[in-house]
Amino acid sequence: MNFQETFKLTSGIYLFLNRVGEVVHASSAFRKLPELTGHPTADLVPLCKASLLEVCRRVYGSQENLLFEAQAGPGAGTRKHFQFEAIPSREGVMLVGLETTNRAREIEKLRRNERLLSDAQKTAKVGIWEWSLADQRVEWSPQLYEIYGLTPEMYEPSFEGYLSLVAEEDRDRVREVIGRAISEKSSFSHDEKVLRADGSLRHLHTWGHPELDASGEVTGYIGICQDITDRVRMEMKAHEAFQLYRQIFETAEEGIWIIDRNNVTTHVNKKMARILGYQPAEMIGKTHFEFMDRESRERTQKNMQKRRLGIGEQIEMDLRHKSGDKVWTIIGSSPLFDRDGAYSGAVGMVSDISRRVRSEVLLEAQKNVFEILINGGNLNLALNDIVFALEKLMDGRASILLVSEKGDRLRMGAAPSLPRSFSEAIDGMGIGPDEGACGAAAHSKEVVILPDLRSEEVRPRYRKIAQEFGLGACWSSPILTLNDDCLGTFAIYFTEPKSPSERDLEIVRDATAVAAVTIEYIKLFRKEHKSRKNGKLLADARKVLGSSIDYEYILKKIPEVIVSYVADWCMLTVIDEEGALVPIGGAGEPEQMKYFGELKGYRPDMTAPEGMPKAVRTGLPQLYPFITPDQLEPDPSTGWAIIGTRDPKYLELAKRLGLTSYMAVPILVRHRPVGALFIASSRSDRHYTPEDLEVAMELAHSCGMAMDNARLYKEAKSAVKAREEFISVASHELRTPLTSLKGRADLLATMLERNAFPKEVTQKLSPIIKGLQPDLENFAGLVESLLDVSRLGSARFFLKRHVVDISRVLLETVEKLKGDLDPQGTIVVKKFDPDIVASVDQLRIKQVLINLLTNALKFGKGAPIEVEIFQENSELQLAVRDQGIGISGKDPRRVFRPFERAVSERNFGGLGLGLYISNQIVEGHGGRFELESVPGKGSTFRAIIPL
């Protein structure tokens, strides 16, 4: 059963209203209440039930208790008397009515219905208390105990006991409120925080209603206590949220403007006020129409209709600045509604777009510029669009001058509206404080205003030009990059003397900014184009240089690659043994090539202060962006010309080749110069820049690497050849003493066999001679391995193939080896196909098997070694599986490389050639080796040879 339903059943007249005056609970007795008359206040007679509600709302508004009486019924005899008290609190109002016609009976009824009330209490977290002043007895309903987290066993209610439960900071206030109510015989209500038995803090709201005896004295209080913790918490959150909104409101980048239903401004943030040039207080209380001109006002009238219908929208609107200027804005406007859903006003988020509107004109121009550029148009033509845009915004004629490549002069960029002769007159203007407005602006990097070109302050030369073209004023603004480098100037001319307003300056600044971005973009665009070209150059160069390790080829290719991208001609020099730079290659246009022959004898003086000698000496590249013809003559004071020579023959040659700009770049190998590049331009429109120099350095680096690689390769190749020769000679030389040694041992063995010596000598010699034989065999085997390697290296390794029964050959080999080397019989033939016939070099295949088996015996730890000889898919498979130490490490197949071994040579001897040779033999037969190996478990070598 819920609270409301319970209340309906109680006989007491109760009414609860919430904070907005809505009836939350009404007891059935209240519903049955007849029409009343009475005098709660003068203007509320007669009292109808609706009027009671109205009374309660008033009471809530005033937050003062109101006690009043009312009567019902037609005649005096049947007339019923009621007493009402409206008890306000922040939570709402409780109206308590008592029929005083027969009060005692009514009270009794009330008591009877306590049980029902208690259910209601529980549902609403409401407890009821009763306090008798005479004996200070306090009674709590069970629900109140629950609210406090107590039980009747734990706690006997009392007023002081109650106060002790109230949080300390609230206690004095609560005592005062109740004390005053008692002395005034009035009701009370208050919020309080109490500590529950479990230590948690609860927020409660308590109403108290005095009980009066017949004489009108207070005998006690009856009251309700409601747990409002949840709501308080929500309120606190709401408060925090409100603070947050407040902060957003004040710090918003946009103006915020709130009007009420009558269009009267209730709130504006500082930003909003600033947009219109006011203080916030100046705007509050005025309708928003007061900040608009007629046209905007009419539009707004219509728009407000939409707000009332609940429609928000984004609109562009021009407002009036305090100064009277028009302010372009974008307003995002939303309607506001109160709790009842009634329209209560609107909020507008206002952005000032005045500058943006102006910028749009400029940006439109910029867009056009980029389009022109992307389509391959020229810079000056593109800049015309920006000039036109500025002229559109201001009543003047504009020009753009650009800083020359050398940085010392201003060259005509664009002046489409000015006479050509004027352009010519100012083209090439110097940069400095005493030059014209533009020269001075480019120099100082500040806006220079010449409000009157006729004044004496203007230098005569420019005064004369101004006069000639009928110009009265010139304002010039430097076009600066983000790094504050001056790219040029943007100037506007007026026919009459004129000083700029703040707005004019702003427009000039904006236009200049657009020009700066545009020119920088153009430069980037060109640079990007160039760097892409350079990237391709470097990639190509690396490709060419990496394509060969032929030293001579690379030296020939380097200048060609450079000329094909960045140079008109190029010379490559290398440092010879004596430290002199020797020209060894050159490239250029066909007509230039004929001069290179004469350069052959050129030996730059290494002490020269410029050019390649300096680059080689310092290890640093040298950039000469501008070469004038007189710099190709020896300097009268030093005797040196700019290219680092004083020999008239070569200076003459340089003139014939043409030289307007060059780079001398050292070629470094491991930080030591090995040569230098002379990269030259002979065109008037190609002047090398630091970026070119960077590319040249990269290029020189690639050249150095390629030269070094080629040299290393050459050296490595001869080293390899030397090693092969050494092995070849050494192994042959070993054969001769081996032949002699073997011959002697054989002879001794033969003599022993034939009893050439006395018996006792034979007995003593026999074991010695027998021991000599395997050593010699072993030695001979090693020499053979070396010889095999030298044969493999010199491509003299060929197979002598014959058709044989390879099964039989291999089986015999196994048997022979078992007899010689495997007395314990660890070698087992596990799988054998007879009669495999193949065209192979049988000696070599035998060698493979012997290698595998001797390895297996060596590394097999004495465990059985399995041999498989079989045919599968027309391939001969020869497998040897041991259970030995296996091959550790990442790359087991390394054992197939020469002089490699699976284990340290300290443990196992040998040259590490057996598997290398075996693999070569198998591959020589078009076959392959498969290898499975688990360290500690063993290895399986499988030679697979196609039949």
């Binding site: 032949t739 002699s740 054989d746 033969t750």
Partner: protein, 125 residues
Amino acid sequence: MEQKRILIIDDNDQIREIMKLTLEYEGYKILTAANGQDGLDLLGEPPRPGLILLDLMMPVMNGWEFIAEINKDQDLKKIPVLVVSAYLESEDLEKSPVDCCGFLEKPVDMQLLNQQIALHYREVP
């Protein structure tokens, strides 16, 4: 019966000696020369050997030159020559084949040597 005669031409004293000892032990009469020229000089004096064991790489006159020389003489060219060399796979041999009855590679297996000698030995009148 007269001993069978074999001429050993090798510039290496050790090899010459052990081959001589070995073959003498087998009952042959051995003549030795340290180069082709010495060998050629020895052939001037009868009785001539029934077999020549010839090394190839030698100073003064090498094996190829020696063979070229004896081939000029109708009688001498009939003497069988066994080449005994460590250089059987050398490019020199590939380029300039040797006109001989057989090859033996160093280190020589003496058993094989005896077999070969027995096979090719032929006394020329």
